[in-house]
Symmetry: C3
Subunit: 266 residues, 3 copies
Amino acid sequence: MNQTIKKNLLRDLEAIRSTSPLVHNITNYVVMNNTANALLAIGASPVMAHSIEEVEQMASIASSLVLNIGTLSPNWVEAMILAAESAHNKGIPVIFDPVGAGATDYRNDVCARILRKCKPSIIRGNGSEIISLCRSIQTKGVDSTANSTDALEAAKELALKAEAIVVISGEIDYITDGQTVETNPYGATIMTKVTGMGCTATAILGAFAAVNPSPIEAALSAMTLMGVAGQVAACYSKGSGSMQINFLDELYNFNETTISRIDEKQ
Amino acid sequence: MNQTIKKNLLRDLEAIRSTSPLVHNITNYVVMNNTANALLAIGASPVMAHSIEEVEQMASIASSLVLNIGTLSPNWVEAMILAAESAHNKGIPVIFDPVGAGATDYRNDVCARILRKCKPSIIRGNGSEIISLCRSIQTKGVDSTANSTDALEAAKELALKAEAIVVISGEIDYITDGQTVETNPYGATIMTKVTGMGCTATAILGAFAAVNPSPIEAALSAMTLMGVAGQVAACYSKGSGSMQINFLDELYNFNETTISRIDEKQ
Amino acid sequence: MNQTIKKNLLRDLEAIRSTSPLVHNITNYVVMNNTANALLAIGASPVMAHSIEEVEQMASIASSLVLNIGTLSPNWVEAMILAAESAHNKGIPVIFDPVGAGATDYRNDVCARILRKCKPSIIRGNGSEIISLCRSIQTKGVDSTANSTDALEAAKELALKAEAIVVISGEIDYITDGQTVETNPYGATIMTKVTGMGCTATAILGAFAAVNPSPIEAALSAMTLMGVAGQVAACYSKGSGSMQINFLDELYNFNETTISRIDEKQ
């Protein structure tokens, strides 16, 4: 692994462990448990709260805000917008996971609204979600040529339009501000067979953004951590069940030795 | 294991793995994570979405629709009915899990309404849920003699009335269209100590119904898969915690060898 | 371990296993799965139901009612109050977990309302939650001197005001009726890195309160069970992922031998 990436990752992880940043998640029902466990495993402090009666105050005491529309409904979307306003007033980073963008018109409308109102500093999705998201903020409606644009081009375009760092999860993860592109080559295919791995990545982005003011550096550290922990866990996992558990164990124990296990194999 | 059952199960599982059918779940909060992981482990593609703003469109792009009333509330029930209408318009099978049927009047009313409006092609529950369900669609009110009817008789009656395949989970699973009865003798008692195993069975029924147009054949394959994976996992599980994980691993790795482990012991 | 504590714990656990009390949980989305699995592992029968259309009837057939405000919203709070009224009418114990008390004004208002309306017989939280809760029921507004009160003093005061047993989870757990104080010294630090361990403790308190009419004795048995199972599981857990699973296995297999593993080390 590149020495700068390694140094930054270990420094940011140490900062998370020593300061336990409160990460406020307004996320989906499927992954709340995974997300909370992953945040605890790396030393962060998760809180899940979605009621419009309290999201502004909760976001105001948090160190970052993670918005995830996996199981969205109108009340939750209103809560996301209120929480994001509060986060911006306090200068707290907002991370956005457009789960299922492109699947329904409602989801697309909500994505466009969240991009406009919540101004995330980091957006993470898979290739097709990022392509959908890029289209959804075009003022002239759906760009029919977008089908031929690959996800990375869409990510760059989205990054510039949304003034955010865009992360595409995939076999290789891409992280871009619209100009430069960073990559994370680590990971394992079996990670796609554990529900919520993408959502976990987004939550971990929230923890790193809480301790590193550079969103692109935070994103590179977070995605590298996910990839290395996943790749190491996959080596000794018997199936997708044990993978979920071993992944948390690797996050919990993550240190220089974890990285060296990957480097030795290359 | 009977060679036809084995051949059909492996053929259907291969179809799930190669086509990754999208299974739309409107299910309960307790089991969403298990359900999603079990569907991923067998190669299906789960989506959880419950908002009335999008369920019709989501169901229309799915290959099957799974309705589960474990933690029901009025909005969710409306979403189930809208999604089921959409599923019927697209010719997609609807699977129904009447969790807790019989426990409250509200649950019974909802069950009767779902049976009438959502026309499931497969219904799965435990014995007492099936007995309750059978009663709830009797036009003359609760049948006081139903107490003496065993669950299998109720299942047959329900299958005829609802024009659905009815599956009773238990020590032996029964699968009936009201006339013939198929059985799955595989499984393990410890499966009852892991929450959501029944709900997982229902979701897996959804995946099999997506690839096999015969609901009784799909149900037999799905319940046999559950039973065999559970029985094999139980052999080496230390308790109900590891059982949950080992079960997912067995689903993930399921093949002819898994079945042979059961056959050897008999 | 003290012989009386040991004898009572094993007797209460045996009662749970032989009678499978129905524990009705109105709890948060993050921990529903853990909570259900922990209750199943000790032999209880969990049910999660939150709709105002059915909570009164569900509570009326349960053996105890557990209220947890982790991911609260107005509808859920109304359901808690309705369910508690029903529980009181049936003489069923109510257990309350004030998750995040003190974090927002809304949470504090809800806590005060639940204390007044739901009259829990056992309240469990961490130190800062108990201090917040104690303040929230003072008639003269927030007591500015409360900052200097340690959690145990707040717990005693709360116990007397609320006429409840108060449990503080921490490195050592304290259990008080306002006069006497019992302690549980067992446990492991890694338990704080698994989400929902506190919520699981509260649910287990519900199971023990269902079989033991003395809330202080039930609380001491429940917290001792949690602590011993956690301490034993921690000895062979590689990280926070495997800890979650091993803890459930230890609950599932808990018996005199589990306790002797702790005693041997002292």
